[in-house]
């Protein structure tokens, strides 16, 4: 039990949730809810892992993972944007489809050792006391990419013209259309971006943070937690990042609670009875619910909410949002 280790590991595992949640924020900001994050992540994890194994190049694996997530998301895009199918059901089926594809194509990958994305320490920054060793020492390169992602996506969504188009399409597509924005194209694009980021999140697991292929256990529900974080974060990438990192730290903290015989000077009940750890394993999921209740309360008070057109297909020339 060491605060520095918990924070350090939390940043690493939080990066997975960060990528997935920010990807989902892009899609939902454009008005398309994609519940297929878990499936896209798993497919990305598999594609990255197997490509890295086949080519002996982790970076090619990473690119393949991004590509795989993106391609899979286009199926969701086609069905929901053009065929106007229900986004919830389509997203669910995407999870099934992605999981199935990943399990079938990932057959026999367990136990293999492909090259991984390297861990590095940043010069100068790493020598800052405490913060340096938590934030800038011996992290995967992807963790640093994650740091950069937070301000960049925030700036993109809130301060640039394409970001404004993105929000317009998610809030009032008919008005955006009147202004000459191609609603369909924007939606396809951000669904694709969301898929790419989910794929990246998957590869972050399999090629970096907890390397390996453990079939459906590779993602173990993190895609769903990412979806919950998006709601909790009220579609704001900065809040999503904070949520992701906090969750990562929590996971590590729970893991550490199970080890020692003495905890804060007391006898550790979990050490005495290992079955109690099942309750610990529940906590991330229970806390997700608590966070959602809290987030929904805050949203209702401040009259904040989801993008107004979220979940509603846009049909040109028809009355609607």
């Amino acid at each position: 039990m060491n605060l520095e280790i918990i924070l350090h590991a939390g940043l690493a595992t939080g990066t997975i949730l960060l990528f997935a949640a920010i990807g989902e924020i892009f899609a939902e900001r454009a008005g398309v809810m994609n519940l297929g994050v878990e499936g896209m992540m798993l497919l990305g994890a598999m594609a990255g892992f197997s490509t890295s194994l086949a080519t002996q190049n982790a970076w090619l694996g990473l690119i393949m993972a991004i590509f795989a997530g993106g391609i899979l998301s286009l199926a969701h895009g086609l069905v929901t944007i053009h065929f106007q199918a229900d986004q919830v059901v389509s997203g669910l089926s995407l999870t099934f489809l992605g999981t199935g594809l990943a399990l079938v194509l990932g057959e026999g990958l367990t136990g293999q050792n492909p090259p991984l994305i390297p861990n590095v320490s940043l010069p100068i920054l790493a020598s800052i006391p405490f913060l340096g060793s938590v934030f800038f020492t011996n992290h995967s390169i992807l963790v640093y990419v994650g740091y950069l992602f937070i301000p960049l996506t925030w700036y993109y969504i809130y301060k640039t013209r394409p970001g404004m188009h993105l929000r317009a399409v998610g809030e009032k597509p008919s008005a955006a259309d009147t202004l000459g924005i191609n609603v369909y194209r924007v939606r396809y694009f951000y669904v694709f971006v969301g898929g790419c980021l989910a794929g990246l999140a998957g590869a972050t697991i399999s090629l970096s943070v907890s390397p390996g292929w453990y079939s459906s256990q590779t993602t173990s529900g993190q895609g769903w937690i990412a979806v919950a974080i998006v709601i909790f974060a009220q579609w704001n990438p900065v809040r999503a990042a904070v949520g992701g990192y906090l969750f990562g730290m929590l996971r590590r903290f729970i893991l550490d609670l199970q080890g020692p015989a003495l905890l804060f000077g007391f006898q550790n009940p979990i050490f005495m009875n290992h079955n109690l750890s099942f309750f610990l394993q529940m906590t991330p999921f229970l806390l997700t619910i608590v966070a959602l209740v809290w987030g929904s309360q805050a949203a209702m008070r401040k009259r904040l909410g989801s993008p107004a057109a979220l979940g509603i297909p846009y049909i040109r020339g028809e009355r609607g949002l």
Binding site: L35, G39, A75, L78, V79, H82, F83, Q84, A85, D86, V88, V89, S90, L92, S93, L94, T95, F96, L97, G98, T99, G100, L101, A102, L103, V104, L105, G106, E107, S215, G221, W224, V227, A228, I231, N273, N275, L276, F278, F279, Q281, M282, F285, L286, T288, I289, L292, V293, S296, Q297, M300
Partner: protein, 367 residues
């Protein structure tokens, strides 16, 4: 030169013909099979042999057909659970967890025990049915009240509760109720077993080895009850109204919060009943992985049946077959892939119900 033909998509103005939904659904399943076959071919499998194996392993004899029906039994109940909730556009993705809680509560009857161990079979089984439904309803109540009171997204809460339910069960089967350290409880007494057809093998020789149990009757009764609720009762009309047009329902003065909680609880109770039937009719003990994802397959079953309770029965048999065959087909993900593809194709094919696609000659269009 331009294409001589263009595809023109028109919105349907007339009613859709009665046969069309059936045709598109069947077509969707067919396309899903072909797609999965292509994936299998790509990785070097032999799709046709797998398909042949699929049929002999699931419909080939009375024995395997009974296995298929045994797997279809929980799917019928879970599929109905999802259908009812989906009618109200209430996304209960938590049938898996409700199934586990139902199994847990039903097991409590035997393991705590809640009724004296030497009670007659009728008493034990009735208690198990009730407890199973209570367990599932409880697990549906939580997301229901959170949605009704705090507007918390039920998709996420039901999903998260799935994980919680599985860990909860694990705690008991690994610990307190473990059978000599194995990850399962001791076998239930015979009084806690649902009657099976093979129990009557002495009188009718043909029934030996037929494992079909009374749970399937629960499923059929449930299908009728849900059909009656949705199609014939006033309450069912309310549910459909809330699902189709919540605004109108609110103006009509319907109590939406109460309906959300009620529907979630009934949906959960059905999934819990499925869990009870599985522990009491099939495994006869509580153990790990009593469900190979019934809760999730139920979502697909409900959607493929277009939320029609009687269609749920038919579709469940197909999916029961998928589960039976999936246990033996390698690679194991192929059943999952097939389910996901089927659902995807079905929702894609729905576009054909809303739109007509016509081939139009170029010069005709000009004119």
């Amino acid at each position: 030169m331009k294409n001589p033909f263009t595809l023109q998509i028109e919105k349907r103005s007339e009613d859709i013909p009665k046969w069309l939904p059936l045709v598109t659904s069947l077509g969707a399943v067919l396309v899903a099979f072909i797609f999965s076959g292509l994936v299998l071919k790509m990785i070097g499998g032999q799709p046709l042999r797998v398909l042949g194996f699929f049929f002999t392993a699931t419909f080939g004899s009375w024995g395997v057909f009974s296995d298929t029906l045994v797997k279809a039994t929980p799917l019928i109940m879970v599929g109905l659970a999802c259908s009812l909730a989906f009618k109200m556009k209430l996304w209960n993705i938590g049938a898996e967890g409700q199934f586990y809680l139902g199994a847990f509560f039903a097991s409590m009857v035997v393991l705590v025990p809640l009724v004296p161990p030497d009670s007659p079979k009728v008493v034990v089984l009735t208690a198990m049915v009730l407890m199973g439904m209570i367990g599932g309803a409880l697990w549906g109540f939580i997301p229901g009240i959170l949605k009704a009171k705090y507007n918390v997204n039920e998709i996420i809460t039901t999903l998260m509760l799935n994980y919680v339910a599985i860990y909860w069960n694990n705690y008991w089967i690994f610990g307190k109720w473990s059978d000599a350290g194995f990850q399962m409880t001791p076998m239930f007494e015979k009084t806690a077993w649902l009657p099976r057809l093979s129990d009557y093998a002495k009188q009718f020789n043909a029934l030996s080895g037929i494992t079909l149990h009374l749970g399937v009757v629960f499923g059929l009764i449930a299908a009728f009850v849900i059909w009656w609720i949705i199609e014939r009762s006033r309450w069912g009309y309310e549910i459909k109204l809330i699902g189709d047009n919540p605004k109108a329902a609110r103006y009509a003065g319907l109590n939406i919060s109460r309906n959300i909680i009620l529907v979630m609880m009934i949906s959960g109770a059905l999934a819990g009943l499925a869990g009870m039937a599985e522990v009491s009719g099939v495994v006869h003990r509580l153990q790990e992985r009593i469900s190979p994802g019934y809760g999730f397959s139920g979502i697909i079953v409900a959607w493929l049946s277009k939320l029609n309770p009687f269609a749920v029965i038919i579709v469940s048999i197909l999916f029961g077959a998928l589960i039976v065959a999936g246990r033996e087909i390698q690679p194991s993900g192929i059943a999952f892939l097939l389910q996901g593809t089927i659902l995807f194709m079905v929702i894609s094919s729905d576009v054909l119900l809303r739109y007509k696609i016509r081939l139009v000659r170029y010069n005709e269009e000009k004119a």
